[in-house]
């Protein structure tokens, strides 16, 4: 099933984009969008040999909510840090986090979450043992960050992608 | 009501222009080439937001398309620049 429906997630994503962009919600646009989406997925197959297979829609939604909340919080924190300027006690630094997730799409989404969230930047990944090097703008408690990454994000992502 | 929105738009435009200006200062001051690229990247995002606001100001939807395109492709030039900084060339064998 998985192998046979490899095209589905991406095609659905593309069709969604198409329908969002189209000026009108018509059957014609839907058909056109479907054809294009499917065609593109098939055409780009050789350049995308790995397919992501997200499952567990609920987990996905949960993760999205978590991320939005975290981003909102980080926005606040970082904004305050900027406004305080030099008076703020910042302790920027790197932390190394060994990752368990191996699915490339999972890793990619993790990198997106981390980097898109203000205050953290994905700064490196070791080649063989997948140790994530993370730069944090305000590093207070290293274990908090490890906890956030491992439990809030990585666990959910493993659930979704593996 | 239009007026409120219009003034909010003006305000936002000014914010984004100032933000662009800040990014430009970083671009010029740099210190490292990475800073400059970051400045340029920020300019792209700020420009995109500015264009969205222009769309609201003039009540047309096609500004959205430009913004969409910046959000989709704005990263290409800055990541090309970063790749150049990282590897010394943009496209490797």
């Amino acid at each position: 099933m998985r192998k046979f429906f490899f095209w589905f997630p991406m095609s659905a994503f593309l069709l969604l984009i198409w329908m969002l962009l189209a000026n009108a919600l018509t059957i014609g646009q839907f058909v056109l969008g479907s054809i294009l989406s499917l065609g593109l997925v098939l055409a780009s197959q050789r350049l995308r040999p790995l397919h992501g297979h997200p499952k567990k829609t609920l987990t996905i939604l949960k993760l999205i909510c978590l991320v939005i909340v975290d981003i909102a919080y980080s926005n606040w924190v970082v904004g305050i840090l900027i406004l305080k300027g030099k008076s703020a006690h910042r302790t920027p630094g790197f932390i190394n986090i060994p990752l368990d997730i191996r699915d490339p799409h999972g890793l990619a989404i993790l990198s997106c979450i981390i980097t898109y969230t203000p205050g953290t930047v994905w700064s490196g990944l070791t080649e063989d043992d997948f140790i994530l090097r993370l730069h944090v703008l305000n590093l207070k408690e290293e274990s908090d960050w490890i906890h956030t990454i491992k439990n809030r994000y990585e666990a959910n992502l493993i659930e979704i992608f593996e | 009501m239009n007026l409120i929105l219009t003034w909010a738009c003006y305000f936002a435009i000014c914010c984004f222009s100032l933000a662009t200006f800040c990014a430009f200062i970083r671009l010029v001051k740099g210190s490292t080439p990475q800073d400059r690229v970051l400045g340029l990247d920020t300019m792209y995002i700020n420009g995109m937001l500015l264009i969205i606001v222009l769309g609201m100001l003039y009540r047309t939807s096609w500004y959205f398309d430009i913004a969409l395109l910046i959000s989709l492709l704005g990263f290409v030039s800055s990541s090309a620049l970063s790749k150049f900084l990282l590897r010394g060339e943009v496209i490797e064998p």
């Binding site: - | 100001l57 003039y58 009540r59 047309t60 096609w62």
Partner: protein
């Protein structure tokens, strides 16, 4: 707005022309880029400036000509942008070829003393 626009063109063109007068190929290609920005804005300006009135006609309405920006200069600028892009690419490759063949990045292919 007109003043800013005019000055912008002037600054772009001036910087570009300064670079065109420099001896290094990279300076010249940057100059060409800047000049082409200036020229594109110049062409565009020939349709006069207007905000919020792109030449996109609403379906089902009779077009009131005065409500829209002049589309002709826009079409011309599009052509100019494309041609400018093409020539920039060409120029770049020629300067690289010159660099490879003559081992210098001087526009004359040799290092002049002056």
């Amino acid at each position: 707005m007109e003043i800013i626009y005019s000055l912008a063109i002037g600054v772009l063109a001036g910087s570009g022309i300064w670079l065109l007068l420099r001896p290094r190929t990279f300076q010249v290609i940057m100059g060409l880029t800047l000049v082409s920005y200036a020229v594109n804005l110049f062409i565009f300006g020939m349709g006069r400036l207007s905000v919020g009135s792109p030449p996109i006609i609403e379906s089902g309405t009779i077009a009131d000509v005065s409500n829209y920006a002049d589309p002709v200069p826009q079409a011309l600028v599009l052509t100019a942008i494309v041609i400018g892009f093409a020539t920039t690419a060409l120029y770049l490759v020629v300067l690289l070829a010159l660099r490879g063949l003559s081992n210098t990045d001087h526009v004359d292919g040799t290092e002049f003393n002056s």
